[in-house]
Symmetry: C2
Subunit: 546 residues, 2 copies
């Protein structure tokens, strides 16, 4: 892999990232990383400077979900420690994110001085990142850099988890062996395990009369949408998705059931999945929100559960089985074709605004469902934005982004930045609560700087409505902002405030036509109005708060 020619440590890393298809890096510069920023500026990788490191982290996470690899590049501690939460979210939800942090030079550390940005020891940040990444390494010896970089980047792509690379500033230009051609990671399965797992699964599925597929987030991450589609079309099995897996198959596909989330979701989907005599669960995390806070009823005796390199059937499991291989082999098997009926929701009537009526959550999402087109990426922040958004019908694949498991508020606006930079053909529709917008909404600045044009709907109910539903108190109330006035701050963008259905109608039309920069719609809602799904969720979570 490595030639005898020489490069520098910094250039080695840049070259590998270019080879792996990284087009952009998100970050905030700082003195310990400026030398590496210069290398990025001189490379094919574009630096997207954000307002905050947490914004860079969310943007890079979303970019990684769309592009297959993302990166955030920050300075030591004051930068890196501000991105920890976004990286933790990428870990929890399996997003292939590379974190690059500058650090004090090895030549400056002699006698352990109190250099600025240092917390306790020079290892503090490395120790912290070990907790939220699949690999965390300090690139402090040019001889081991090629091996460490290659190994960490492979881990990132293979496990779809973040990795952390710490680069002391004096090593950026230190000589090291040049990189050879990049060899992409090949997914691996143990052949014997795979054969046996497939044989057992096929035997069970052959006998099943009402099998159903439950599709999860790993299908997004490993790019297995096409094999899933083939499996669905060859077998005819109805397919439901988890909340994190939403949009892994077009939600207009005739065999698509909807989102399965126990009692939180639609009854027809719950019944279809729970009444199946065999549920083939593919790449789903069995998380609490994904499963409607454990209201899901999935009897292990009736499931085949493939995820993270493992296939579990009943109470035994097979290790070292790559999900993609497993799906392909099941699709190839001559399974009896099933034509189980797919219970469908009544086709919604064309939405007609009721002039003068105050907007409600229910009507808002009904309207938005008809606003989506083939080029819309829906990005939902956590809270009722997500619970309401779960009901939207996504047209194509991979067009719904949300931190549906880790549930970190403030993801959506920076995620719109990352998602649109990763795929300029799509236009993000951001659905964000006021509390979440107040956390990271300033990244509209970065969005403006790069001439992106998301449509941002702020669901303005002056508080943390999800928490109101769970356990209310005065701490759930927040200040009202004139969110639609952000264009006045930024000198670009288009904004308006809406209270009634006809105002919303008008605003959506104008936002759609305003393609030169972002649009922001301040949707005034009743503080106690929430989606039916949230009311159900709130009741369940409330039992656990005390």
């Amino acid at each position: 892999m490595r030639s005898n020619t020489k490069t520098t440590v910094g250039s080695y890393l840049v070259t590998r990232l270019e080879q792996m298809g990284l087009g952009h890096v998100f970050g905030v510069p700082g003195d310990y990383v400026l030398g590496f920023y210069d290398l990025l500026e001189a490379s094919d990788i574009k630096v997207i400077g954000t307002c905050t490191e947490i914004g860079a982290g969310y943007a890079a996470d979303a970019y990684a979900r769309v592009n297959g690899l993302g990166a955030v590049c920050v300075t030591y501690c004051v930068g890196g420690l501000n991105a920890v939460n976004a990286v933790a979210g990428a870990y929890a939800e399996k997003s292939p994110l590379v974190v690059i942090s500058g650090a004090p030079g090895t030549n400056e550390r002699v006698r352990s001085p109190l250099l600025h940005h240092r917390v306790r020891t020079f290892e503090t940040q490395l120790r912290i990142y070990e907790q939220v990444t699949a690999a965390a390494v300090a690139l402090d010896d040019p001889r081991t850099v090629p091996m460490l970089v290659d190994s960490a980047l492979d881990t990132c792509v293979r496990e779809k988890r973040p990795v952390y690379l710490e680069l002391p500033r004096d090593l950026v230009s230190a000589p090291c062996a040049a990189p050879g051609p990049h060899r992409p990671v090949q997914p691996h399965s143990d052949r014997a395990s795979l054969d046996e797992a497939v044989a057992e699964a096929v035997a069970l599925l052959s006998r099943a009369r009402r099998p159903v597929i439950l599709a999860g987030v790993e299908l997004h991450r490993f790019g297995l949408q096409a094999p899933l589609l083939r499996l669905v079309e060859r077998t005819g099995y109805p397919v439901a998705a988890t909340l994190l897996g939403k949009s892994v198959i077009s939600e207009r596909h005739p065999r698509y059931l909807g989102i399965y989330e126990g009692a939180m979701g639609h009854e027809r989907v719950r019944r279809a999945v729970e009444n199946a005599d065999r549920v083939l669960i593919l790449g789903a995390f069995m998380t609490d929100i994904n499963l409607g806070i454990y209201t899901a009823r999935l009897d292990p005796a009736r499931t085949i559960y493939a995820h993270s390199g493992t296939v579990a059937i009943g109470h035994h499991h097979y290790d070292d089985v790559f999900l993609g291989h497993f799906i392909a082999r099941i699709a190839d098997a001559r399974l009896p074709r099933r034509r189980t009926a797919v219970p469908r929701a009544a086709a919604p009537l064309p939405f007609r605004p009721h002039s003068g009526d105050h907007i409600t959550m229910r009507r808002l999402f009904a309207r938005l469902d008809q606003f989506l087109d083939d080029d819309t990426v829906v990005i939902c922040d956590i809270g009722d934005s997500l619970f309401g958004g779960a009901d939207l019908t996504i047209h194509r694949r991979t067009e719904f982004l949300s931190p549906a498991y880790y549930a970190s508020m403030g993801f959506s606006v920076p995620a719109a930045l990352g998602a649109q930079i990763a795929d300029m053909r799509r236009r993000p529709l951001v659905i964000v609560g006021d509390g979440a917008f107040q956390m990271t909404g300033q990244e509209l600045s970065t969005i403006t700087q790069h001439r992106l044009n998301p449509i941002v709907l702020v669901l303005n109910n002056k508080g943390y409505t999800t928490e109101r539903a769970i356990h209310d108190g005065p701490y759930n109330n927040i200040s009202g902002w004139a969110y639609h006035r952000w264009p006045d701050i930024l000198g670009d963008g288009w904004g308006c405030e809406v209270r009634t259905e006809d105002e919303l109608e008008d605003a959506l039309r104008k936002a759609q036509a305003h393609t030169s920069s972002f649009s922001i719609i301040n949707v005034q809602l009743d503080p106690l109005d929430c989606s039916p799904a949230l009311i159900r969720l709130g009741r369940r979570l409330a039992r656990k708060v005390k």
Copy 2:
């Protein structure tokens, strides 16, 4: 200490915090911490909800610097991990900050489910906080809670470092022993060490002909301003301060020299300190920025260095000597009175604005120096705001706040929130760069909610000017915002934009008169204009970047 009566785990913690003089807690609610929020609401401690957890962290840090104890209360991971950087800064700069995080209930953790907000294991956040606190404990057993809480809070106050308490939500209402009366931590010295250290120091100081005191941040933290003043007034020694120690003595005191920061500071201060035949360094951190990036020349053979429980003289040191005891004993010793001349800067002429002249950094700070009054708390963000602010003459004690060592951008606006809540008699003057404002400026929302009235000066030069001085590149440019339009977003506050000296004059007058809410002044500066101190610093840091 503990009685036989019973209370609950949550109430135990609340009672102790009340007993220790905590009046406010900063945070963002989340479902794992809502039960504890209810206890806070019912207590004498007021909850200040911020826009972000990093904002809560900075606010609580500033509150702790002013009040002697501060606290931030957040939810698990998505909350706690967003505050890590502020807590790291409090660790680095010794601020007594208590971090309280909710967590999944112990009863929910059986079989290790994927509960929302979980990253890797249930211990992830605890492991991370161990890196940035003096004590990090999980309160997961009601029997040990009194001991763990008391021990952690004592550590916080004794070491002036943050501590972390993780509270599983099912334990908030679990019964535990009630707290007895609170016994404040008494600072401790080993008597023999203290005696010997004092004797040696007094002998050296008695022989010194030109002794000088260098006062540092620990004098703020341990509340030793009065003993320092007594020492200065009894001995007549001239006293300089480090950047972090700034304002530990009134900067109008006749024996006050100025800020000592090597070649970065004023030549007259540098010369006075470096030409002294004995430098008594009290409670200073020997950090890079504090010491003008190692341009300071302090020969250990001529210093007596007391800090963090240690007194170092020459190449030996005494442990277990509390700084306060040491200072008091030196002040009591019959040292020969010294009347070394204190070189003073020429008294500035009354500032007269040059009508129509563009504002420069030099003139801006000259004007601000005359704007301060006895009730002003100056809060400088990192960057040229700090380097320029270092030259301001602070009237009273403890009126200058800045992250001068850890150097985390975005500290100042939330710090103004925390500082004014801690002492409503003072009015903060915030000096903040545009880059730093973009990070956390939204906490003006919280400032508005609580009817506080800081004056915020945004030094708008469309980029990271400190970095431009160190190592320029396109990544140092940021979007221009109409910062003065924030009142339009928030529906309160007063703002304006200024370019010339007469506009600045007018704006300062109006801001001073506008006491009902915040004022924000968007100061348009040339992107390449910077303070003389920054030019000197930039040259030095630039050598280390490559």
